[in-house]
Symmetry: C2
């Protein structure tokens, strides 16, 4: 049954993602994984080599989903800056247990594994850098479109944006109250809005 294998594999990795992102790498045991994946130890090891490899594959999937979600935001938004703002707005509206809102697994992974599993934390670090690149690219597009000043330091803006996302996600995980969370997201959105060059509305008015 060669055809069904990749499907099962996806299902298994999604189940592992659920488990790992909740309990973390060290606190998740193989017993937990056996139950979540509905697989016996032998099958798990045949499919994924070992716990570390399974985690790394799971983390890769998390990264791909995250990157996809960010790109989707840019595609539906009217402009790069709108896309970034919408992304924050969406995070600000998440409640705990919302799959979107759970504490960034990349950050969690780095904190959990940097002292004990170098390869895992190196993966997480790489993925964070990839996402940062996408964010910087969005600021670059915003610059080209004249949304932000032509001398804006997009790398710096990207770094700042990503650290805001991290902070917001962690507060979400901590479970602060809904109003405080929305307020925090609004503050971050306002920070973005400040960067914008005011669109010349008067030009439109006089053109009427």
């Amino acid at each position: 049954m060669k055809k069904s294998r990749p499907y099962n594999r996806e299902v298994a990795i999604d189940a592992a993602l659920n488990l790992f992102s909740e309990k973390g790498y060290h606190a998740t045991s193989l017993k937990d994984l056996e139950a979540a994946l509905n697989m016996k130890p032998g099958s798990i090891y045949a499919a994924f080599t070992n716990k570390e490899t399974l985690y790394r594959e799971t983390l890769k999937r998390y990264f791909e989903q995250s990157q996809k979600a960010l790109k989707a935001e840019f595609e539906t938004a009217k402009s790069p800056m709108d896309g970034l703002a919408n992304y924050l707005r969406q995070l600000g509206a998440c409640r705990p247990n919302d799959p979107h809102g759970r504490a960034c697994m990349l950050i969690k992974t780095i904190l959990d594994t940097s002292a004990t599993d170098e390869r895992i934390s190196a993966d997480a670090s790489t993925y964070l850098s990839e996402i940062l690149k996408d964010i910087i690219a969005a600021f670059d597009r915003a610059k080209a479109l004249g949304e932000i000043p032509h001398d804006a330091d997009t790398t710096r803006l990207g770094q700042r944006f990503q650290s805001n996302v991290t902070a917001l996600r962690i507060e979400l995980h901590r479970g602060i109250n809904e109003a405080a969370q929305a307020a925090l997201a609004e503050d971050m959105i306002a920070e973005l809005a400040q960067l914008r060059i005011p669109q010349d509305i008067s030009a439109n008015i006089t053109a009427d």
Copy 2:
């Protein structure tokens, strides 16, 4: 030897703090603790009941040190807003391995234990709230002194400040380059500066 006990206890907890804050709760084994505290298992359990209790006591110590450091900043600063800015500046100047700059153990603890050890993560959550109170109190003092507008929402400002500290600490742990880290801290300081009511320098000039 009743007198020497508390001293040994402090030394032991400091050693545990070093170990736990690096490896985290789940990845630290009793073997590790035996080596770091230079104590045999029996002594550790006689002194600290069990691993969880030792961790909670260690976390309490971390909290007390953090709170003390923040308060010290306010005492040496010229004003509450200066104190907050200096705190960020100091974090921005930290290099990894700097004891000040290691990823906030409270955040790390929450991410590491919220799914498995409720009591530990509840402690961490409480301590974060305590620190938030101190930050809000500083904004309140700034308001009373006329450093920031009288209608400023100090709770919201405090929440925002704390999330900035969290984000900065995590970037520090990730080990981003020195310039990027300093830039990030400067952005956060600039955000603080924006809140300030401009001091009326012209009044001093005309008074001359």
